[in-house]
């Protein structure tokens, strides 16, 4: 049901520019105003959210340790420097692997129950989610970078490099990009998982399906433009360069598929800061990953530590239990506390 809502909504989003652009005056709205506004929303929303996180305190240093810590004898008990970092540099490498290789996800296992002369709980390595995720994210990332050819003039060398590597199979004309296939495949796999796996389906909201359908629609509209509609790329570059040089112009040669694509991307940008897609900056800030495991050796400051919270005083303790303590032969700071009350009163 949630999936259906999301799908219908994305269809609706496709229809808006399809019909909207036909009304002649709206070409600059869809070509310039909407994407620029969406970009500003993205930028401001993104910064605002990250600043919100930054303003929230980090009272305790609580990394999740995933291996042996730095021992008193590192030779006898070698430290797992990546999963249990003790220094800033080690933590940095842990984060690099987390961000670029999805290391925690790579650890994933799947549980199954069996009966074999009694109960058996079995665990097997399960790297599918990791594979789907890495396919999707890297494809998306490279696709996004390749788009720089439309926003930069002259085009930097690495964009040429990406275009060459991405099209290395030289299939068809225009050459098929591997990441185009990877992106669609990645989204479909992630979607399929959400639809088919009952457990994952159970925890999915419309807001989980929507970004997947939206990104799928973005990818498909892009693919349609490149391989089927064969839009006038030079006209498009004139428009996109117009955006980044602030000389807005919508050439007549640009056709509807482009507006659909741009509109969907605009929706994605505007939606991003208010959604779970913020896991992108969020992963960098996660206190269980980005802190060294060193609080036993180095002082960490809790900005709101309350010095007024103190231990129940020993003096009060001795006052309360002094008599039996004295009887039991336990030493007292104040011997008067050891005198039974009735005697003291007397």
């Amino acid at each position: 049901m949630n999936a259906l809502y999301s799908l219908l909504f994305v269809f609706l989003l496709v229809l808006i520019p399809l019909f909207g652009v036909d009304a002649a005056h709206l070409r600059s709205i869809f070509g310039v105003c909407i994407p620029m506004t969406a970009f500003i929303i993205f930028l401001v929303g993104f910064i605002y959210k990250v600043i919100t996180w930054a303003r929230s305190a980090v009272p305790f240093r609580i990394p999740t340790t995933g291996g042996q810590f730095k021992s008193f004898d590192p030779v006898l008990f070698p430290q797992n420097k990546l999963d249990c970092p003790q220094t800033g540099a080690q933590t940095f490498f842990r984060m690099v692997l987390e961000v670029f290789a999805f290391r925690s996800l790579f650890r994933n296992t799947a549980v199954s129950l069996h009966e074999n002369n009694g109960p058996v709980v079995a665990y097997k390595s399960s790297k599918w989610l990791w594979l789907f995720a890495i396919t999707f994210h890297y494809s998306f990332f490279i696709v996004a970078l390749r788009h720089l050819r439309l926003f930069l003039e002259p085009i930097p060398f690495f964009v040429h490099g990406l275009e060459f590597v991405d099209g290395i199979l030289q299939i068809g004309a225009p050459t098929m990009y591997l990441t185009d296939a990877g992106l669609v495949l990645g989204v479909l796999l992630l979607l399929g998982r959400r639809l088919i796996n009952p457990r994952i389906n159970y925890i999915s909201y419309a807001s989980d399906f929507f970004p997947l359908f939206l990104i799928l629609a973005v990818a498909l509209s892009g693919i349609y433009m490149r391989y089927y509609a064969k839009v006038d790329i030079m006209a498009i570059k004139e428009l996109t360069m117009g955006l980044v040089t602030f000389h807005y112009h919508v050439p007549d040669a640009i056709t509807a598929p482009f507006f659909v694509h741009v509109f969907l991307v605009s929706v994605l940008m505007a939606y991003f800061p208010f959604s779970k897609l913020m896991h992108m900056p969020g992963v960098f800030l996660s206190p269980t990953r980005n802190m060294p495991n060193d609080t036993r050796a180095k002082h960490h400051v809790n900005p709101w530590n309350d010095p007024k919270i103190m231990a129940h005083a020993y003096a009060d303790y001795e006052k309360e239990f002094g008599v039996p303590m004295a009887e039991a032969g336990l030493p007292l700071d104040n011997p008067e506390n050891g005198v039974p009350h009735d005697e003291a009163d007397a």
Partner: protein, 129 residues
């Protein structure tokens, strides 16, 4: 506005913002104003093998098909949408008019950031460098 571990966060945020707004800075400072490239007009012939609009968007597909027809099927005659016939040959048909790669092909290909692999096999026309 008190921040906690603000420095690395702001630094990271700054890197991100600079990276995604870089095209605006480059556009303003380097490109200034962008105009579509104008490939060198052909003198002599009035019409290409298909309409200009068709050629702008479909030439890569056409060339791809020409290669297959000529080399794999041995078919050497192309009939265009208007019914006119041409010899399928990059060297003898296309490059008869479009003699200069730098002034024709590269004009758009450079700006679009594409580098077709035509010249992996074909003899490169003048103006390569």
């Amino acid at each position: 506005m008190k921040m906690h571990y603000g420095f690395p966060i702001i630094a990271g945020l700054l890197i991100f913002v600079v990276a995604i707004t870089a095209p605006f800075a480059v556009g303003k400072a380097v490109t200034k104003q962008y105009k579509q490239p104008e490939p060198k007009k052909v003198v002599g012939e009035k019409e290409c093998i298909e309409s200009v609009e068709f050629m702008r968007t479909e030439h890569m597909q056409l060339l791809n098909e020409w290669r297959d027809w000529a080399l794999r099927d041995g078919k050497r005659i192309y009939t265009n949408h208007a019914g006119k016939q041409f010899t399928i040959s990059l060297q003898n048909t296309c490059m008869k008019c479009h003699t200069n790669k730098a002034e024709f092909c590269d004009k758009c290909h450079n700006d679009a950031g594409v580098s077709p692999y035509c010249w992996d096999c074909h003899v490169q026309p003048e103006g390569l460098k």
